[in-house]
Subunit: 232 residues, 3 copies
């Protein structure tokens, strides 16, 4: 079902059983797979690939028992040029993916997220709302990126990474603050970061480390709780 | 494809490419997204929202090499009033979601699970069979809830949580027993619980902790293996 | 949409809104759910079950900023007899699933993977490219199996397992090498394995352990970093 208000560029390929809602705008040379759903107002730039079963521009769900209300007004979803959106991915309304972004199969990105140029969001990775991701960032498979995180340029995050933003675990009425990862930081697989901490420029967090406090620029931490690894 | 035996309430909205099988019953004011599949016999109460690509009432798969057979006879899937079921979610036949339950995108709940009122199952969270979840429980994104768990009221489970129910890891012929989380317990992100342990009332498990034995009511444990954190 | 070049065996059941591309070959007694997509050239043997929303035979995505190029030429996807492929699963072109393999809902397997007879890939588990999985292997829910792993016969991997293959975390131009799990090894839930290590025959890795070096045959390791557990 393609709504009559949809704008289609030149040379757009559209698969079977696709739903394109009102005011969707699609650039030139875009490929849309089968069973794709693109919600109202979404903007897709030139040369984008959207794979089978993906859902783009999902609006926030109204549910009165959810803890958080959106901080800012939510705009449409914008997908930059040459981006690839994987199969079964779910991208919310109100986020902005810059040019050359890659989103893996079954990944999901909530509202008010910015993903910088040439960044990669791995398969099955979940990115929460209000998080800012720089350029050239890699977030590997099945990682969990909490809300309100700042991930600077060229950060590398291994698979099965976990983060949190709520020091008091659901007590409510406290400020939520995700970790900050400074430029070029590297995080090993299955590491856990606690709320509000900062991982410094080019710092390294070992696989499986549980990081409870800030890590200075250039330092390497390992263990549970994570400790600075002294050079031998 | 809507089977002719389906019962539809008043003011039901149905998306594109939906499959409703035999004897599905749908209450008033229900919204069903695109590409949704609702299997035979499923009962959907009033004011429920079912988002795009969700699968409800999935029957158990016949596969002779799977270790476990279902303990009890499997009934239909029942969804309580005002529940929200996220995009790409998969809910099995034989479970019961009470009123005001929220199930995130890509989450899955196996058979014979009960989810109490106002509980939240986060995005990409996996809940195994025969687990009982109380009221007001939060299970965050990408958490893994093993089979045969008991999660009491108002428990909070952070993201990327992991649990297991098989002490002997696939040796077979042993009783499988998931952990028990007592009222108001809080579990940090990426914590691991071993089979059969109990986390006491209002006890706290720190992020990344590996809990190998019972935790007394009100105590906080951290580390690998988890140890009680003494107050300073 | 069923392409006219598709070969269908006897007694094949096909659901609603299915897409079967060119030269797909389907054996006898195969069941194909609703909204299933089977890509060009895929071969499905007799008595296979493919559940709703699954995607089979997905080709590699062309994206110039991805780090790795495929090592070998990629062939079609081959599914052995009596295999079950879960709902929302995504299987890539160029892999080979032997007879009696079970793939859970929302699981994904990349290209050039071999899965041996009677092995089980759990729900939401992610298996990367070029990995070899033996016979009778169990990989539980939400586990992450990195690229270039060797998993021998009868290995058991608990839920939320994590592994990595890149010692230098995205520095590029280094050989990537996943862990090797020897026959009958058992890995507890949420354990992390570092690149290139070997877990010996019938060795056991405890839940939540972070394994940084090889484990000798028959030994048990626990902790972060994992240490051999001496028998008391």
């Amino acid at each position: 079902m393609i709504d009559q208000t949809v704008t289609l560029g030149e040379n757009v390929k559209i698969g079977e059983y696709v739903v394109l809602e009102e005011n969707v705008m699609i650039g030139n040379n875009v490929e849309i797979g089968n069973h794709v759903i693109i919600k109202e107002g979404t903007i897709i730039s030139d040369d984008v690939t959207i794979q089978d079963h993906a859902i783009l521009g999902k609006p926030l769900t109204k549910f009165k028992h959810l803890a958080r209300k959106p901080k800012k007004e939510v705009d449409v979803l914008l997908i930059g040029e040459r981006a690839v959106i994987g199969s079964h991915a779910v991208l919310y309304r109100g986020s902005k993916l810059m040019d050359d972004v890659f989103v893996g199969d079954m990944a999901s990105i909530r509202e008010n997220v910015i993903v910088g140029e040439k960044s990669i969001i791995g398969r099955n990775a979940m990115v929460e709302n209000n998080t800012t991701i720089g350029k050239g960032v890699t977030i590997q498979t099945s990682s969990y990126v909490t809300a309100d995180m700042v991930i600077e340029d060229n950060v590398f995050i291994g698979p099965s990474f976990s983060s949190s933003n709520d020091k008091y675990m659901g007590m409510g009425n406290v400020e939520l603050k995700g970790p900050t990862l400074k430029k070029g930081a590297k995080i090993g697989n299955n590491a856990s970061l606690l709320p509000g901490i900062t991982i410094g420029v080019k710092a390294v967090v070992g696989a499986g480390a549980v990081v409870t406090k800030d890590v200075t620029d250039g330092k390497t931490v390992v263990g549970n709780p994570a400790q600075v690894l002294e050079k031998k």
